[in-house]
């Protein structure tokens, strides 16, 4: 208790002081009265009373010492002293505080992103029990699940509470005046059970609504409710119109529920009957594990279930296997590498910043050697002096950490803007775990940064004399070591950034096999329900293509299941109607459905045979690429052969990077069929800038299909670019970190060399006086700096070898040991180092020897 009082008395200094003064004054008055009563004069009495008490201020001081906790008092004094000292030297304090703010802030921002995206469970009750369930088979890339099989899995497995499925489509919401694109998900029974969520208002679907011909119903998202229905509390029961059909709203989901993706606004009960063919593929599957069940147990369980089904339905189920992956991994797996890479880079940067600040503090300590030595001589203890240095650091770190919270807030906003496609980004926010993280980093940094100067301060101050007349001694080796560490780490970051940037550059330089420029892409809403009458779908899409092609300014128009060059693959095994020897390789190839005009539109050359033509539904032409023909048919030609379920191969086209421009072309089969599903991607080759045609296309489609909406309208190069935006963001961020690291290292190099030359002024002056050339002095100083930098470069390259092992999966078109990049990095570092070292070296060489020698 009294310990606490003593602590608080530190901050009530004035009050405590006043009390003591009054108490002592009373004592003096009483004593004087007494003495006067004993017969002394008033004046003498006062004097004697004072003499008996002793020195008044010493008394007050000693009494006060009893009242306050000395350590706390010393701390408060140190803090006051530190603030004063720092305020006197803003040129030192501001850069250090800002450096710290940036370092801690960047670190915290990246870590909080990692924390939310990779470490936190998905934002559903027991989110870790949610699994992505898919079917796999050797001869097909199809992972969607037939309704009957989904029901079988759900019924037969005992490791899952429930398994459900969904599929999405972009349709036209005609509730308002203009049709608007809306994404809806058809969901299998048990959908909300699996998520463990309930509608915020209204109810879940009932069993009857999942029956074919049962009542219709729709659940709407919170966003849809607020933006389209104005948050009307009586929205339940009112209709949502899709195309020509109305669905009554039965419930509104909570705002946090955004699944299967954040664009979904409507959920409808799927009426897919369990009697649908087992070969059909409908659902993407998700399941919720029973509590306490591991992923491996679930996998084993479903594997057993599927084996039974394989025995029961050998035709459709024997070749099918089940894959179970935690939903979180499925959702964020792609960005895991990038995030950890950024975190690593940012941590290295923080380390460099600490080293830099330690070096700055160190040279500051040396600059203040005189002052410190005087105070030491006047009786300050080493501990006191060291404590003071540590306090100064702590104050800096505290200020830096406070500013860093601003950096953090800004960083998450910037992150959201630059990489909108990152999964779970909307969940990232400033959380307490993040604040805690900042505080911990601050403490670590304080200890790390403050320790060296403090130790040296406590140790190295032999005498007043030494401070004035420093020799070139081993003492600078610590400074140079810190510079070396920074340079080495910078080299590592620069090399990583260089390789990533080279990859981005290579990626833009690659010849994809098709012409990316002047292609406008978009989609037109549609529903899988239309596929009941396929002839109509084909008619509609072919009609649209013809109209688009006739637009002035359009060279050609095509459809495709997937956009070329945007990452995505669909690999299946084909079989020949004509048969194929078992000894020959299996015909595994990427499968693409494209309209016959695709090759003209994308400018993929037809190398052999003839271009494909429009055919009636069911007898489409097939084109294969050169890789397919060469891999599987050399020296024969595949032209004229028939692929089961696809059609006759009529021609061979050039290889194109269909699967993503970062992947080499693979054997590809194009089935020439413009309407593989009711909502393919449209590609329009324009004569001018593609954006210029966007309005004309919209107007045309409005005229053709007033009830449908056009969306995702963008030039192809932009679509490809945004598919690789994470890639670019990662590269530029790393480059930014590396650049910062290098500039910090240079500041440190400059500071250290300036400091060394200051210490060696006398020696240099002496040598100049004895006739040494100024050029020689510059050369010698430069050499001493470059020796350290050169050694650090070598070590940095060694570190790079470790670092690039992490990078290897992210590189494109460059090897991890790309000599041009590495040499470039070393050259850059050496050049910058020479510039940083030149100024202090030249300044030293321009010393007036006489003046220097007189100074001593």
């Amino acid at each position: 208790m009294s310990r606490r009082r003593r602590f608080w008395n530190v901050f009530r200094a004035a009050r405590v002081q006043d009390d003591i003064q009054r108490e002592l004054a009373f004592h003096l008055a009483e004593r004087a009265d007494q003495l006067r009563a004993d017969g002394l004069s008033a004046e003498e009495a006062t004097r004697l009373a004072r003499r008996q008490l002793g020195n008044l201020s010493v008394q007050a001081e000693r009494t006060r010492d009893a009242d306050v906790a000395l350590w706390a008092d010393a701390c408060a004094r140190n803090v006051r002293f530190a603030v004063r000292a720092l305020a006197r030297n803003p040129g030192f304090a501001i850069p250090v505080a800002l450096t710290l703010a940036l370092g801690i802030g960047a670190n915290t921002a990246v870590f909080s992103a990692i924390d939310t995206i990779l470490l936190q469970p998905l934002p559903f009750p027991d989110g870790d029990r949610l699994m992505r369930v898919t079917q796999t088979s050797d001869d097909s890339a199809e992972t969607n699940i037939a309704p009957a099989r989904l029901e079988d899995w759900n019924r037969l497995s005992d490791t899952f509470e429930a398994i459900t499925g969904y599929f999405m489509e972009d349709v036209s919401d005609t509730s308002g005046e203009l049709p608007e694109r809306v994404r809806r998900a058809f969901v299998a029974p048990r959908f909300l059970d699996v998520w463990g969520m309930a509608p915020a208002r209204g109810r879940d679907f009932v069993a009857a609504e999942h029956q074919d011909g049962g009542p219709s119903a729709v659940l709407i998202s919170d966003r849809y409710w607020r933006s389209r229905l104005g948050g009307n509390p009586n929205a339940l029961g009112s209709p949502v119109r899709i195309g020509a059909t109305s669905y009554p709203i039965v419930g509104i989901m909570p705002a946090a529920f955004r699944f299967p993706d954040r664009d979904v606004d409507l959920w409808l009960p799927s009426t897919a009957a369990a009697s649908a063919p087992r070969a059909a593929t409908w659902y993407e599957g998700v399941g919720r594990l029973e509590p306490g069940v591991t992923v491996d147990q679930a996998r084993a369980d479903l594997a057993v279930v599927q084996t039974q089904l394989g025995a029961q339905y050998p035709d459709t189920d024997a070749a099918v296997a089940v894959s179970v992956v935690p939903l979180k991994d499925a959702a964020v797996g792609g960005v895991r590498g990038s995030l950890w890479l950024l975190f690593g880079a940012v941590s290295v940067l923080l380390l460099i910043m600490c080293t830099n600040i330690a070096a700055l503090l160190l040279s500051r300590a040396v600059q203040r050697q005189q002052e410190v030595a005087v105070r030491f001589a006047l009786g300050a203890s080493r501990v006191t002096l060291a404590a003071q240095m540590l306090t100064e650091t702590a104050v800096l770190v505290f200020v830096g950490a406070s500013i860093s919270l601003l950096v953090v807030a800004g960083a998450s906003a910037a992150f959201r803007m630059l990489a909108p496609t990152f999964p779970r980004l909307d969940e990232v926010s400033i959380s307490w775990s993040m604040v805690l993280c900042t505080v911990v980093s601050a403490i670590v940094v304080a200890v790390f940064c403050g320790l060296f100067p403090a130790i040296r301060c406590a140790r190295g101050l032999d005498a007043l004399g030494a401070a004035g007349r420093a020799h070139v001694s081993h003492r600078h080796s610590l400074q140079w070591l810190l510079v070396g560490v920074q340079v080495a780490l910078s080299v590592m970051l620069l090399a990583g950034a260089g390789l990533l940037l080279r990859s981005v550059q290579e990626l833009s330089r690659v010849a994809p096999g098709f012409d990316v420029s002047r292609v406008l892409t978009f989609r037109v809403s549609g529903s899988y329900a239309e596929s009941r009458d396929y002839n109509r779908v084909v008619q509609r899409i072919d009609g649209t293509l013809d109209e688009l092609q006739a637009l002035p300014g359009v060279d050609s128009a095509a459809t495709a299941t997937m956009l070329p060059g945007v990452p995505g693959q669909y690999e299946i095994e084909f079989t020949l109607v004509e048969g194929r020897a078992d000894t020959e390789p299996r015909l595994v190839a990427e499968s693409r459905f494209v309209s016959p005009s695709y090759f003209e539109t994308m400018q993929i050359p037809v190398l052999d045979g003839e271009p494909c033509r429009r055919r009636p539904v069911g007898e489409s032409d097939v084109m294969v690429n050169r890789a397919f023909a060469e891999r599987y048919f050399t020296p024969r030609s595949p032209i004229g052969l028939h692929l089961v379920d696809s059609g006759r191969i009529v021609g061979i086209v050039g290889d194109a990077r269909e699967r993503g421009i970062d992947r080499d072309p693979v054997p590809t089969v194009y089935a020439c069929f413009s309407a593989p599903n009711p909502m393919p991607a449209y590609l329009v080759r324009t004569r001018g800038e593609p954006e210029g045609m966007a309005q004309a296309v919209r107007v045309k489609l409005k005229e053709l299909e007033p009830l449908r909406s056009v969306y995702d309208i963008a030039p192809l190069d932009e679509q490809i670019g945004s598919a690789f935006s994470e890639n670019r963001l990662r590269s530029w961020l790393l480059a930014l970190f590396a650049g910062t690291a290098l500039s910090l290292a240079c500041v440190s190099l400059y500071g250290t060399l300036s400091y060394t030359t200051r210490l060696r002024r006398r020696e240099i002056g002496l040598r100049l006086a004895l006739g040494a050339g100024r050029g020689g002095v510059v050369r010698q100083l430069l050499a001493s700096a470059l020796r350290v930098v050169g050694l650090a470069c070598v070590i940095g390259l060694g570190l790079t070898a470790l670092f690039t092992r992490v990078l290897s999966g992210m590189l494109f078109g460059v090897s991890t040991t790309d000599p041009a990049t590495l040499a470039g990095v070393v050259a850059l570092v050496l050049t910058v180092a020479v510039f940083a070292a030149l100024l202090p070296a030249v300044r030293a060489a321009l010393l007036e020897p006489v003046r220097v020698l007189r100074e001593e």
Binding site: R22, E23, F26, H27, R31, Q34, Q52, G54, R64
Partner: protein, 112 residues
Amino acid sequence: MKTKTRNDILQGPLALLVLKTLASNGRMHGYAITAHIKNVSANLLRVEEGSLYPALHRMEQDGWLRSEWGVTERKREARFYTITRRGHRQLAEEEACWTQLTDGVARVLGYV
């Protein structure tokens, strides 16, 4: 808080004397304490005034004394001290200690 036994011959007896004085007389200010000790010891002991106030404050911080501002009979503002329960315990301890010490010293001196 742990009670401290001081070997310091100046501090030790001073604390003991102050505690004893306050224990027998109740509420007193610093000047009265010096006067009391001087009178009772028949001028044999004189509290060094320089050590008194630091000692009083330390004892207060240790929780042996409590202080408050008040007015003397002659209408002067003074800080009055009273002994706390913890102070009484400390007094008992220090008295025992002191007795032991003086006993021991007497025996050594009395040994021929």
